[in-house]
Symmetry: C2
Subunit: 443 residues, 2 copies
Amino acid sequence: MTEKTTETKVEEAQTAALEIAGTSDETRSDALESIAEAIDANHDAILSANEKDVREAEQLLEAGEYSQALVDRLRLSPSKLESIAAMVRSVAAQEDPLGKTQTARELDDGLELYKCTVPIGVVGTIFESRPDALVQIASLCLRSGNAVILKGGSEASHSNRVLFELIREATADVPDGWAQLIEARADVDTVLEMDDEIDLVMPRGSSAFVSYIQDNTSIPVLGHTEGVCHVYVDSDADLSMATDIAYDAKVQYPAVCNAVETLLVHEAVAEEFLPEIATQYEDAGVELRGDDASRAIVPMETADEADWETEYGDLVLAIKIVDSLAEATRHITTYGSKHTDAIVTDDADRAGRFMRSLDSASVFHNASTRFADGYRYGLGAEVGISTGKIHARGPVGLEGLTTYQYYLEGDGQVVGTYAGADGKPFVHDTFDSSWTPGSLSER
Amino acid sequence: MTEKTTETKVEEAQTAALEIAGTSDETRSDALESIAEAIDANHDAILSANEKDVREAEQLLEAGEYSQALVDRLRLSPSKLESIAAMVRSVAAQEDPLGKTQTARELDDGLELYKCTVPIGVVGTIFESRPDALVQIASLCLRSGNAVILKGGSEASHSNRVLFELIREATADVPDGWAQLIEARADVDTVLEMDDEIDLVMPRGSSAFVSYIQDNTSIPVLGHTEGVCHVYVDSDADLSMATDIAYDAKVQYPAVCNAVETLLVHEAVAEEFLPEIATQYEDAGVELRGDDASRAIVPMETADEADWETEYGDLVLAIKIVDSLAEATRHITTYGSKHTDAIVTDDADRAGRFMRSLDSASVFHNASTRFADGYRYGLGAEVGISTGKIHARGPVGLEGLTTYQYYLEGDGQVVGTYAGADGKPFVHDTFDSSWTPGSLSER
């Protein structure tokens, strides 16, 4: 059998997208349960394919081409497979994001406009090495009625192929072709050019990779570039609270994008605050880099301009002392990435000023930046985190995989009736509705 | 005085964007009233600048470089200025789109998440010759708290400069720099490269122009490419209704994007329907182009493949006879532009199938495609029509100029408390709220 071309796969997905959009809530959630069962029943096949990937990766690790972290992320285990199946079931259990009437409006007698949620269509996804990413992305797209192009990392190709086949077989009740696997790196460029067929691209990977995608396609991109998050300890902060938050935001899980990278401290509290948190950081193995004022209080490396805009993703933290809330927000606006920024203060007014003057996706008062996450926000599983401002921001759940469509139900109305100085006026009254296309009028 | 560079203007807009986002509803609507008053009080200055543009355009018309339609669109008059001022006042009167709490959720005791509407930030707009476009776009951006870069057509440069100065002077209470005028064509490319400073680009112009913008920037683009709209007359259509709708959709205003371009007719009703509508079209001067089956019923030009995908924007219509609803939706999916498509039928079930199987921004049952418009939809003034699927679809009003931001109010919570097998569970209860940043907790 000849392998299908990427163009053919994308076109098949486009056809399937129109069909899967019309499937019922039950069809989609039952299909997800089938995927979970298929994972449960096929541990051996999955783990043996994964073993091949891990062996190949270990050889590249020995050759110095891969990192240990990459090999670790790649490795599956029976307990990991159980948690993947549980994730799929949690997506199945989520409320159907489709067919929600956002607005119903009477334009005139017998002329009713409905704005309802629908899938986006064909979503192109390009993701990193973890094989569970394939299952998670496919599950979220299926739940939200989207067709999906899946391009995983080549290092996970054996695992991805087995997982993809299981998903395809388990979803026989869903229109064929809704999920497509592509494998060669060159196929990514083909995908990026198919702007008539693909409605959204979701890259997951390094900031440089996401920027590359943004620069090389006219398809809208939903992605997360950098997470340069800040904690600002205000002059009116409860310093014990500030210590807990600053510690948690850096140390609890430093590799993730919502970890703090720069700590800003008001000069009025710096001498009291910095020595205590520095001791705690030191015990946790955090490397500190500070401006001159910070270094006058606690000995540490020098932070230069590059530090202010770096996402370390590691146990490294930049520290700067500021003379005002305004200097803090100016610093964040200049160097931040609009991901997540927090203020610690007991003064509600100053908290409000901080929150209103930043345009980051998430702005926190007296809480750790690490809360910026789809699960913690109560969105269920998340597709990813968006640092763009359009469509979906911050942690993106199923809702971010939907868009809306307008439906107008009339009984023969024409625009000529409403045109010109003598035209009939519109009514424009909104009403509550759970209308679906083809149902009888609700009024 | 040296003219500022485009880079400087965009950077000033970026600074102003953070400030205008925090202005009150009253400040923004009062500023719009001031703009309306300034237009009322300065008819002479505006009309004399406009006269220069019109004279220059007429010279180019004589030289064969401009069309009469362009000159007509360019020309202002006292009554046109009155309607522009009325439009500005109607934008002022619209409900504030900012600060609406979309979701409020208790994550845990004393840890509350608010998702609220905020402006997008800096919007770059590039628009056609009509000088009222500048006032309309600036007004909608101001109402929604966005900073705006305005690039009008060079043919309207005198009018645009006067209108821009009036707007700037009338909005002294709004943070300076919120509106920026750029004039040279070369500056467009500078704008398209400033993806760190500009959050959204809204081009208004030809389909080729919008595609050019999409292909030459990594900034998200909200625009409308083509309007290849369809009316499908089903076998169960009320043919008198079908005639009215097909006539209105083409003839009432053929130059606009929501006018029908292809009429699809079920074979069972074609012989009865086509002669009647063809007579009416003929009286209105519509040129018909049909497939062989249509031409066997009514003499007309031959439609070829190119006709099915052409937006005529004129009194020209393609006609095709189909053997089923499925063939109709297949044709629309293949050749349409996902703008607006309508079915005429008395069968609710078939209407539902039609509406569910198309992913156009607007899908109508028994109504003219010409209703696809922000004013008729009850959205107030519209920024434009979007044929993309991301962020805003179809007619885009003030809501499409907003995005959202997450605010988290805590009292010292850290993620460590909720992590791992023994972690505290989240509550995740939603509640009603009209919280604003800095106000005391509502629970």
